[in-house]
């Protein structure tokens, strides 16, 4: 009879600032096996194998916003995931323009075209170098 008491809902990590330095990093992390170069040991946000983008980097970006005080670990994860979906989406949408130009190589101008044409990408207008 080993049932441990139900763990408090994940949202209880609310008040830890982004849960960056989770004590449970004592657990050896399952190998995320991605291009992340950060050290596996120590204070780095644990890379969960469900996200390809490193949560630590995502979190650093989030913290750049002066209005953001704390972010739950889940929110960091979800933003990471959403960003991955975003990359997929913009790449595919840009590809349409490359194909129109009968090219097999995606170029910067294809990106620009997609950003101009697609409503969801309006927030990018004028932002890229």
């Amino acid at each position: 009879m080993a049932a441990t008491a139900p763990v408090a809902p994940a949202e209880s990590e609310l008040d830890r600032s982004g849960a960056e330095d989770e004590p449970r990093s004592a657990e050896p992390e399952e190998d995320a096996g991605n291009g992340q170069t950060g050290p596996t040991a120590g204070a780095q946000q644990q890379q969960h194998r469900l996200a390809k983008l490193p949560l630590s980097r995502i979190k650093a970006l989030m913290k750049a916003d002066p209005d953001v005080s704390l972010a739950s670990q889940e929110s960091v994860f979800i933003i990471a995931k959403a960003t991955e979906l975003f990359v997929e989406m913009i790449a595919k949408d840009a590809l349409v323009y490359a194909q129109q130009g009968k090219r097999k190589t995606l170029q910067r101008k294809d990106l620009d075209n997609a950003i101009e044409a697609i409503d969801e990408f309006a927030f990018l207008e004028g932002t890229l170098d």
Binding site: P54, A71, I78, E84, D110
Partner: protein
């Protein structure tokens, strides 16, 4: 060196891999396009964060949560992301819970072992973890955003 937030780049290798997996075989991506996508991704994070934070602030919360991000996606007209994000979140929560229980279990066992060592050093160490009951989302996260 003062860094603009947009300079916080996401790792190139990962961005490239995501792009490649999204596109059919035989399609290449120029370096400039890759760089632009990477930059766009950073900006996406900033924008999504800001948007999500607005929801948190409206609710008078100091901590941004997953529900806020979901609301932000809707606001940003990325409804198509909602379903896959919900699924990913479920899987993530399960994973986190498993880890938490595992490390708590280990902590308990460590404590036991320490106690036992004080009594007798000959005890077999019961290092194995008992089968943990996979309580299916017992402490289910409130669906703030259904």
């Amino acid at each position: 060196m003062a860094e603009r937030p947009e300079d916080l780049n996401l790792p190139n290798a990962v961005i490239t891999r995501i792009i490649k997996e999204a596109l059919p075989d035989g399609v290449n991506v120029s370096k400039e396009a890759r760089k632009a996508i990477s930059q766009a991704a950073s900006i996406f994070v900033l924008y999504a964060t800001s948007c999500a934070n607005n929801f948190a602030m409206k609710a008078k919360r100091k901590t941004l949560n997953a529900g806020d991000v979901m609301s932000a996606m809707e606001e940003m007209e990325f409804e198509r992301f909602l379903q896959p994000l919900r699924q990913a979140l479920e899987a993530y929560k399960k994973g986190q819970k498993g880890k938490k229980e595992a490390s708590e279990q280990k902590r308990k066992e460590k404590k036991n072992i320490t106690d036992e060592n004080d009594k007798s050093r000959d005890e077999e160490e019961d290092e194995h973890m008992d089968d943990e009951q996979e309580g299916e989302n017992e402490g289910e996260e409130e669906d703030a955003w259904s």
